[in-house]
């Protein structure tokens, strides 16, 4: 029986580590969604560092056809045989179909609408799927200065859909972001259209407790799936807004031993 653990996955992982961490659950669920999209047709995925990169590389091993990985460093169609250590990893360029400049990757590939899926994270996510990765507190005298925008605002603007991967907590899942770095649904239904944003916005949030999706009409993020062993109460207690649940609330399948084994291979840096 799988138990959803909130234990941080930062310890060294080994192939024999069969304990499923919170990060594992998020990564596997992200990889599943990406695999499904890829299997249903082409899925081009704009990949950042950290969990999204692990998820995308796991999806590459689990699905056929695999998703097409695109990195903001300019690598298009990278097929790394081991998990890249950074988005500047030489392996990404060596195995890419094409390597282009940074201005080109943003203009010709992301902005032009050639990216189906963009993964994003952040320090805060609000009920309308907007993301803060800039500051906690006041911009001019911040409590915590975060790294900032990077590629996120334009991924949020132009990707066919955005998947957010974040641990769920009252601190992070807020009524309104302290700073709106990236637009989800802005001020609500119709706002993206008014802003002229062509991408689909925050279509899925993958947390350590389950999945959230925007409700048709209001665009408010509601829990649509719980991970095995997670209660509604846990979700409500970990959310800074009055969390709603889908009428047909579902369970995500438990992380299978095959998935876990392949994930451990990816994390250990094993070549494929």
């Amino acid at each position: 029986m799988q138990k959803c653990s909130r234990h941080c996955g930062k310890l060294e992982t080994s192939l024999s580590d069969t304990k499923v961490t919170a990060d594992d659950v998020m990564i596997v669920n992200a990889a599943r969604v990406l695999s499904q999209l890829a299997a249903a047709g082409r899925a081009t995925c704009f990949v950042g560092i950290g969990l999204p990169s692990t998820a995308a590389n796991l999806a590459r091993r689990l699905s056929s056809p695999p998703p097409i990985l695109i990195y903001e460093s300019g690598c298009i169609g990278s097929k790394p045989t081991r998990l890249p250590l950074s988005i500047g990893d030489g392996e990404l360029g060596d195995t890419a179909d094409a390597v282009v400049s940074v201005p080109e990757i943003f203009a010709y590939w992301l902005q032009a609408g050639r990216i189906d899926v963009g993964f994003l994270g952040g320090a805060q996510l609000d009920r309308l799927g907007n993301i803060n990765s800039t500051v906690i507190g006041n911009y001019d005298s911040p409590k915590t200065r975060l790294p900032g925008a990077g590629g996120a605002p334009e991924i949020a603007a132009s990707a066919g859909q955005v998947m957010v991967i974040m641990r769920q907590s009252k601190r992070a899942f807020v009524e309104k972001c302290d700073f709106r770095t990236s637009v989800g649904f802005g001020d609500g239904a119709g706002h993206r259209e008014k802003l002229g944003l062509r991408g689909g916005g925050t279509r899925l949030v993958i947390t350590d407790l389950g999945l959230l999706e925007p409700r048709a009409g209001s665009c408010e993020l509601v829990m649509t799936h719980l991970h095995p062993g997670v209660t509604r109460e846990q979700c409500v207690d970990s959310t800074g807004w009055q969390l709603q649940f889908a009428d047909d609330l579902k369970l995500t399948p438990a992380v299978s031993s095959d998935e876990l084994e392949e994930l451990r291979r990816v994390q250990s840096g094993a070549r494929r």
Binding site: S73, S86, G93, A149, G151
Partner: protein, 268 residues
């Protein structure tokens, strides 16, 4: 003076940054899409009046503590920040390199990045009426890059992840490159960009001048250094000592690399 130093996840001009610290330059407006360890050092060493950037972290590790200490606590002094997105910064360099006063972008609209400084406005398409983001061209006084090779005429060759270096060079009043190697002839390399000598102000041979970043074909990324930087930079005293021991007490980059090697802070 506005000094851009570019290299996106590759070929980061660290040696040039250390030389700026060594020469005691102050009051600089420094520009870099990803102000990672090299700018953390410039900020902590007090060289920086203003920082223009789009993502300020230690990639794969966490915070830039000197950057955060400056923004959160004004240490060693208050710095001004001007913040963009990657796509916005890239478009600013493209406009600058193209001799245009501005560029246009689908992005920014609806974010709180708009209105923090004067560099992001809007423009209406004269054909469709759509409102788009307009970004101000970037034309640094000096742009600094690190490249793999130059020939004796000063033509500079870069390959691998080429980032925004061509645009950084072509948008600047003066461009400077440090290179791993100077060769008689630049043999063609797949994926290479060549910047002709006549757009370069100066070229200096500085082997491993990107450390702890890397130069494809010459060196590997020193991941342990990036991880180790977290502890050094988290503490003001440790940081000052590190700068004194390794940067200020070294006459040049070769001495600095030797000093790091001696301290066990460099693995290669």
């Amino acid at each position: 003076m506005t000094v851009a130093m570019e290299g996106f996840t590759h070929l980061i001009p660290h040696a040039a940054g250390h030389e700026i610290i060594r020469q005691g330059r102050k009051d600089l407006h420094v520009v870099r899409m990803t102000p990672d360890v090299v700018f953390d050092q410039l900020i902590g060493a007090g060289c920086v009046r203003k920082l223009t950037f789009s993502w300020g972290g230690n990639p794969g590790v966490g915070s830039l503590h000197r950057f955060r200490d400056a923004v959160e606590n004004d240490w060693p002094h208050k710095i001004e920040i001007e913040e963009h997105s990657h796509a916005g910064m890239a478009a600013r360099y493209v406009a600058g390199a193209s001799g245009l006063p501005f560029g246009i972008l689908r992005g920014y609209l609806g974010t709180d990045l708009v209105g923090r400084h004067a560099g992001i406005k809007t423009v209406d398409c004269p054909f469709t009426g759509e409102r788009l983001a307009a970004i101000q061209a970037l034309n640094p006084d000096v742009s600094v890059i690190h490249a793999q090779r130059a020939d004796r005429d000063g033509n500079v060759q870069i390959w691998g992840l080429i980032g925004v270096q061509k645009e950084a060079v072509l948008s600047a009043q003066v461009a400077i490159a440090t290179v791993e190697e100077i060769v008689d002839t630049l043999s063609p390399v797949p994926g290479a960009v060549v910047l002709p000598s006549w757009v370069m102000g100066a070229v200096a041979c500085v082997p491993r001048g990107a450390h702890p970043s890397f130069a494809m074909g010459y060196s590997e990324r020193d991941n342990a250094f990036y991880q180790g930087w977290d502890a050094v930079s988290a503490d003001r005293d440790k940081f000052r000592e590190w700068i004194q021991t390794h940067v200020l007490s070294s006459a040049d980059h070769a001495e600095m690399l030797a000093s790091l090697r001696e301290a066990g802070d460099i693995l290669v």
